[in-house]
């Protein structure tokens, strides 16, 4: 299967242009035409229809259809739209790029979505560490305001909405949509307990709220301009359109690449010269993470799998946030898994027991093994502790925790033990890391 030629650049078309974040460039490249079109010639349902037709899958990690999410919005006088720009999943850097390089596209997508869902106010929650992104996004909002795209009676359509850029303060868990809402309410970022399962029923300030990802929003203007059908024409099956994959790790050209969904395989993405350009130093792939560190790992035998949400899910992992981390054969798998566990331990919010205590315990065990004080029994102990957080260690996971950060903890540890048990045993027997 090959990509449509030429591959349309839907969200990254302006990346690399001079002052791509300014309104001048944006207007020159067709900016705010979609908003004008939506507000002046379409009803909100028509906009929502187009988005449904496009079958745009949420680009945040869970991959839930944007159109379906909108349709679940409970009718209520006050509705909010919140855009999730709290990108913190390790090795994911696509939203960072979009916020810094094309903030207007996000603003436009947000405004169109606000129109479609009838939001009383829209918030863009930006990860606090993206200081430059915050600057540019706020500047874009100010410019859009001056342009008449935000505020009262936008483009004379009678539709008004305000958009607030909200800075986060550094907590991975705030990427979870209900934790993000709590954080936006000025509280500790504790994910809310389910049910209600969706903020569309009860979200910000207890009102129905739609939470969408920044990249999803960036797709909206194109969909409105070109129609949902032409978006759906790209890609395969449920995986429609293009998508940014963030390639990192041991490749020659790490970076963000917008490719058509499901048309390329992992191998092609890694090896094609316009993308990854092959593994660093010509080494072999030992393992790779297909969709952010929460996802279970894949081995070299799965390199030929297509970049399709459903295919990856069928194989027991996920495309998640679209970040792919390649690890070559000189990588210590125990160390890699330990570092990922350490990340989850540091970022666990501490609300519910299994994640709070389990992450710390697993991290301590992993550290001990990596540093040479492991015991053979620790491997079963690790797996059992993991099992107590995500019963069955299946994917998609079951969980004993409130949110999905819990079952993300075991995925790397369980993958590493499953795939590289002998490497763990070497650490234990030799009393240290063989790669040092």
């Amino acid at each position: 299967m090959t990509q449509t030629d030429p591959v349309p650049k839907i969200v990254t078309s302006r990346v690399g242009l001079e002052e791509s974040w300014g309104i001048k460039t944006y207007l020159a490249t067709g900016g705010y035409t979609a908003l004008r079109k939506a507000l002046t010639s379409m009803t909100p349902e028509q906009v929502a229809d187009e988005v449904s037709k496009s079958n745009l899958l949420g680009r945040g990690g869970a991959g839930f259809e944007v159109g379906r999410k909108w349709s679940m919005l409970k009718p209520a006088p006050v509705r909010y739209l919140v855009i999730n720009g709290d990108e913190s999943e390790p090795a994911t850097f696509k939203d960072h790029m979009l916020i810094e390089n094309d903030p207007h596209q996000i603003v436009e997508g947000t405004l169109i979505s606000a129109y479609a869902v009838g939001a009383a106010r829209a918030f863009i929650f930006v990860r606090g560490e993206f200081a430059l992104g915050l600057e540019r996004l706020q500047a874009a909002v100010n410019e859009a305001y001056a342009h008449g795209a935000i505020g009262r009676n936008i483009f004379g359509s009678g539709f008004s909405v305000d958009l607030v850029v909200h800075p986060g303060a550094g907590a991975y868990i705030c990427g979870e949509e209900t934790a993000l809402l709590e954080s936006l309410e000025g509280k500790r970022g504790f994910p809310r307990i389910k049910p209600p399962y969706f903020p569309a029923v009860m979200g910000l300030y207890g009102e129905p709220t739609i939470v969408n990802n920044v990249e999803s929003m960036s797709n909206i203007p194109w969909i409105v301009n070109n129609g949902g059908a032409s978006f759906a024409a790209l890609g395969v099956g449920r995986s429609t359109g293009t998508r940014i994959f963030a390639l990192a790790g041991h490749v020659n050209r790490p970076g963000n690449y917008e490719v058509e969904m499901a048309k390329l395989s992992f191998r092609e993405l890694v090896e094609r010269p316009e993308y990854g350009g092959g593994m660093r130093l010509g080494r072999q792939v030992k393992a790779f993470i297909p969709g952010g560190v929460s996802a279970p790992w894949f081995g070299p035998d799965q390199l030929d799998m297509a970049l399709s949400q459903d295919d990856v899910a069928k194989a027991g992992s996920m495309l998640g946030s679209g970040s792919i981390v390649m690890m070559d054969d000189h990588t210590c798998m125990v160390r890699a898994a330990w570092r990922i566990t350490k990340f989850f331990w540091r970022e666990s919010c501490g609300q519910c027991t299994p994640c709070r205590e389990g992450s710390g315990w697993i991290e301590k065990m992993m550290q001990r093994i990596e540093l040479g004080s492991g015991r053979e029994a620790d491997l079963d102990l690790l797996l059992d502790a993991c099992d107590n957080i995500a019963p069955g260690l299946t994917w998609p996971p079951q969980q004993t925790t409130i949110c999905v950060l819990g079952p993300s903890i075991p995925s790397s540890v369980a993958s590493a033990i499953r795939m590289f048990r002998d490497e763990f045993l070497v650490h234990i027997k030799e009393g240290g890391c063989p790669y040092e």
């Binding site: 305000d162 303060a169 300030y205 993470i289 981390v325 890699a336």
Partner: protein, 213 residues
């Protein structure tokens, strides 16, 4: 009495006005306070509590949840070395070790001249330039031991003053317009929209029913 300077107080009140509920402004206000004092001092937390209608204990509890908010003094530059997976694979761990030796403080420590606070940070979404370093939330990478030393030397010399601002994450983030559309006005409009929507739906249903017949 207030900890905020008068013009900052104005900015703070402007921030509060952006949200339907006062408490939402708590985190942005903490950023503002750090801009003034470098970290969240107790008078600032007390004033934020007063501004957001919470208690100081709640402000402290909330602020301590977040990595970027410091309730203890930090250096002029917060140097965060990423050691998460993408940077680890490219030698982030070695870079951190180098940084610890070069600055003479362990991760989490502040140099004696209060210039740098070294942190081991989680992924800063700069993975294509791994190993990455953030200084007051501006990103640098890929760095080696030498380029790291070069960076700190230049920071000391003040060569990056324009690029790397002090602690205020929001220092150049300023909303030029307040909220122009009051929420109740928006709501009235949304109700109209919903009414029209319902009418359209009823018409469509009627048409469908007619077709069916």
């Amino acid at each position: 009495m207030g900890a905020f300077s008068p013009d900052m107080r104005v900015r703070a009140e402007g921030l509060i006005a952006l949200y339907p509920e006062r408490r939402s402004a708590l985190i942005p206000l903490c950023h503002l306070a750090q801009q003034e004092a470098g970290y969240l001092t107790r008078p600032f937390m007390e004033e934020i509590a007063e501004l957001t209608g919470t208690t100081p204990a709640e402000v402290y509890g909330t602020a301590s949840f977040y990595d970027m908010l410091h309730t203890e003094p930090v250096g002029k530059y917060l140097v965060g070395v990423c050691t998460n997976i993408a940077c680890l694979l490219q030698g982030g761990g070695d870079l951190l070790e180098h940084a610890e030796r070069a600055l003479g403080v362990p991760a989490g420590g502040t140099t004696e001249d209060d210039m740098f606070t070294l942190e081991e940070v989680e992924c800063v979404a700069h993975c294509d330039k791994a190993p990455a370093v953030q200084v007051n939330y501006r990103f640098f990478g890929p760095l080696t031991g030498e380029s790291f030393d070069d960076l700190t030397a230049k920071l000391r010399a003040g060569e990056y003053d324009g690029v790397v601002p002090p602690h205020g994450t929001l220092i150049r983030v300023q909303r030029e317009n307040g909220i122009e559309v009051p929420l109740d006005e928006v709501l009235a409009e949304r109700r109209e929209m919903d009414k029209a929507k319902a009418a359209r739906k009823a018409a469509a249903d009627a048409a469908k029913a007619k077709e069916g017949n």
